[in-house]
């Protein structure tokens, strides 16, 4: 179940989220966005919606969906 | 006629009555009394006075206040105004109104404390980067000064430009009778910041310089067409026309009266705005005029450049323009008449 939304067009491939994610749920895509960066993708099975990716991302890629 | 008042105090009080409610600046002779007067007076009327840590800080504080819609001013001289040039091009770029008072003192660098008119070219051309212009107003009496202060704020807001009030140091120090204007209602202009982002801004990377240059030229052309101000006399049959502004303009007017009484066909134009330059005044001059003579208190002749350009524009390019720069002070009527004699005798050669 998807708990985190991403905006691939914002990603600048800095890698901070990948290094910080405690469950190693994030990886770079093979595709590039319109600025030429390989944007991040989340493995939603592993993701625990801890919010660390949101915290460290400088570019507003992530939105953590709250519990309904 | 009103009471005797010192020039700098009258200027400061006139600003208050024109609705100014913010001053930030730094003391510098011969403008300091404006600041000292406002340090007490602004508090009385619920305004803001800040003794800034420098001239640069002063103009930037004015930028802040103007950004929020408040009528704001600063006053300085010589090197202080030089320090403010970046602030003035910034005000112009952001289309923020402000009044900058220059009580001119003679000299380059730190200069002197002598009254003069050596900042003419810098104020009319602008000393900051880019090709902005400021409205420049020049009084020749304390009464006129208080009227021009009100006009300075009104024009600055009407056109969203900087108004430079350029006077000689002596006017700030002298005393004359003066009727002060009535206290105006204080208003904030509508495009000031309110914290709510009511007025949207274009992002700095989305600005279009081509488009803006067209609008800027339209604005300046409108000012040039509508806001020229001058006083003139005896120009329709004059053989020689004096051009002079400020206090030297006043003694020039007196010299012209005396020369006329002695039978000489002379006239005068006294610019009150030097930007926009009063081109229309020259259109009224006798088409058979033999020459123009500027009377100015600087070393190299500055007003003469604009006179020459205007002669070319509205009359004939071969009409000579004369200037004997008087360096500093206020040339006496006697000195001005001597200049005239040197012109008609051929002793003084034309500059243009």
């Amino acid at each position: 179940m998807q708990k985190v939304l991403t905006k691939p067009d914002r990603c600048k491939q800095c890698g901070l989220c990948i290094a910080s994610c405690p469950t190693k749920s994030i990886s770079f895509s093979e595709d590039i966005n319109k600025d030429g960066y390989c944007y991040t993708m989340i493995d939603h099975e592993k993701c625990i919606a801890c919010g660390i990716c949101y915290t460290v991302c400088p570019d507003g890629v992530y939105e953590i969906l709250g519990d309904k | 006629m009103g009471d005797m008042i010192k020039g700098n105090e009258a200027i400061a009080e006139a600003a208050i009555r024109a609705g100014a409610r913010f001053y930030a600046g730094y003391p510098i002779t011969p403008s300091t009394e404006i600041m000292e007067y406002l340090s007490g007076r602004l508090e009385e009327v619920g305004g803001t006075f800040i003794q800034a840590e420098s001239e640069i800080a002063g103009i930037n504080m004015v930028i802040g206040a103007s950004s929020c819609g408040v009528r704001a001013l600063t006053a300085s001289s010589g090197p202080g105004i030089s320090l403010k040039q970046e602030g003035m091009t910034t005000l112009s770029d952001e289309e923020l109104p402000a009044v900058v008072i220059n009580m001119v003192r003679y000299g380059n660098g730190i200069g002197t404390l002598l009254t003069a008119q050596c900042d003419y070219l810098r104020e009319t051309r602008g000393g900051g980067n880019g090709d902005y212009r400021c409205i420049v107003l020049c009084p020749s009496s304390i009464q006129e000064a208080v009227e021009l202060i009100t006009l300075a704020f009104d024009l600055a807001e009407k056109y969203r430009m900087v108004s430079v009030f350029m006077s000689e140091g002596a006017l700030g120090q002298m005393m004359e009778p003066c009727d002060l204007p009535k206290m105006q209602e204080v208003k904030r202009y509508g495009w000031g910041f309110d914290g709510k982002y009511t007025n949207k801004l274009i992002g700095i990377f989305d600005r279009d310089s081509m488009k803006e240059s067209v609008l800027m030229n339209e604005k300046y052309n409108k000012v040039k067409e509508n806001e020229q101000r001058w006083e003139s006399g005896y120009v329709d049959d004059a053989e020689y026309v004096f051009v002079s502004y400020g206090l030297p303009g006043r003694s020039t007017k007196g010299a012209v009266e005396q020369l006329r009484a002695e039978g000489h066909k002379v006239g005068f134009i006294r610019p009150i705005t030097v930007w926009p330059f009063p081109v229309k005044a020259f259109e009224e001059v006798n088409p058979n005029v033999k020459g123009f003579i500027t009377i100015e208190a600087n070393a190299t002749g500055q007003l003469i450049d604009d006179v020459a350009l205007t002669i070319k524009k509205v009359l004939r390019a071969d009409i000579p323009a004369y200037c004997n720069p008087h360096v500093y002070g206020i040339p006496s009527m006697k000195t001005i008449k001597e200049d005239y004699n040197k012109v008609i005798s051929g002793e003084m050669k034309e500059v243009y």
Binding site: P58 | Y197, I204
Partner: protein
């Protein structure tokens, strides 16, 4: 247990900061605090020149791009005439501590009721990585190609410590934009600083240490490590140097 987190609307646009630069986190933390304090529709920014300029059209609030170094003076003018708005100066270390040292210091000296955020990346970033007042001893920059010689150029300035110890200010702190824990800590400082302004306590400043991958020649993670393991222990401690009184 997931807490909803969404980037505040006032800054939710692509901005031109380099990949991995701390500016993006700083402006987000500021925007979050403004939202949480109910001040997001009551704010005016005075933006410095340098990488800070890149807030450009990405920040949708009342804002004035100030002349280089002059945000301290511009914000003073704005706050004095609009005391009910939150006025924030947002600058880099070059803008605030080099060309702007007089205005930055004077605003603190006068205890102006503004909040100043200074992003410190130990170089002049926007112009390509020249030495700044916060460059470390021995650090190689484009104008200290053999490493900074502090005997000749001076030692890095510690501004939050200076104002806390020498001036009468309300709040002074330094945070760092590195690990999630440090970022959350920095957010507390930012919120404290804004609350100091809201409660009319006086001048508040928070310096934020940020990586500069481009000019440090490092990856974003390497830059983070440099701050946590070199800058902070050796020169720029994280903490509150002047805490708010009577919180």
């Amino acid at each position: 247990m997931a807490k909803a987190k969404k980037v505040p609307e006032s800054i939710d646009r692509l901005m031109g900061f380099c990949p991995g630069c701390g500016h993006g986190v700083v402006i987000r933390l500021i925007a979050e605090c403004l939202e949480e304090l109910g001040q997001d529709k009551n704010v005016i920014f005075g933006i410095g020149v340098g990488c800070s300029s890149l807030l450009g059209g990405g920040l949708e609030t009342d804002r004035r791009h100030c002349s280089h170094g002059r945000a301290g003076a511009v914000c003073t003018g704005m706050k004095r005439v609009n005391p009910d708005n939150i006025v924030i100066a947002y600058q880099g270390d070059g803008d605030a501590y080099s060309i702007g040292l007089a205005e930055t210091t004077a605003a603190a000296y006068r205890n102006e009721n503004i909040t100043v955020f200074i992003v410190n990346n130990t170089n002049y970033g926007m112009t390509g990585g020249q030495m700044s007042h916060t460059t470390m001893p021995g650090q190689i920059t484009t104008t200290s190609p053999h490493g900074r010689n502090c005997d000749v150029t001076g030692y890095p300035i510690r501004f939050p410590e200076l104002v806390a110890s020498q001036f009468n200010v309300a709040y002074s702190a330094r945070g760092s934009i590195t690990s999630p824990a440090q970022i959350n800590n920095a957010k507390k400082y930012i919120k404290n600083a804004l609350e100091a302004q809201i409660n009319h306590e006086g001048y508040s400043v928070v310096e934020l240490l940020s990586g500069c991958p481009t000019n440090w020649g490092m990856s974003a993670m390497e830059a983070k490590t440099r701050i946590d393991e070199d800058l902070t222990p050796s020169y720029y401690p994280v903490g509150e140097f002047k805490a708010r009184e009577g919180k």
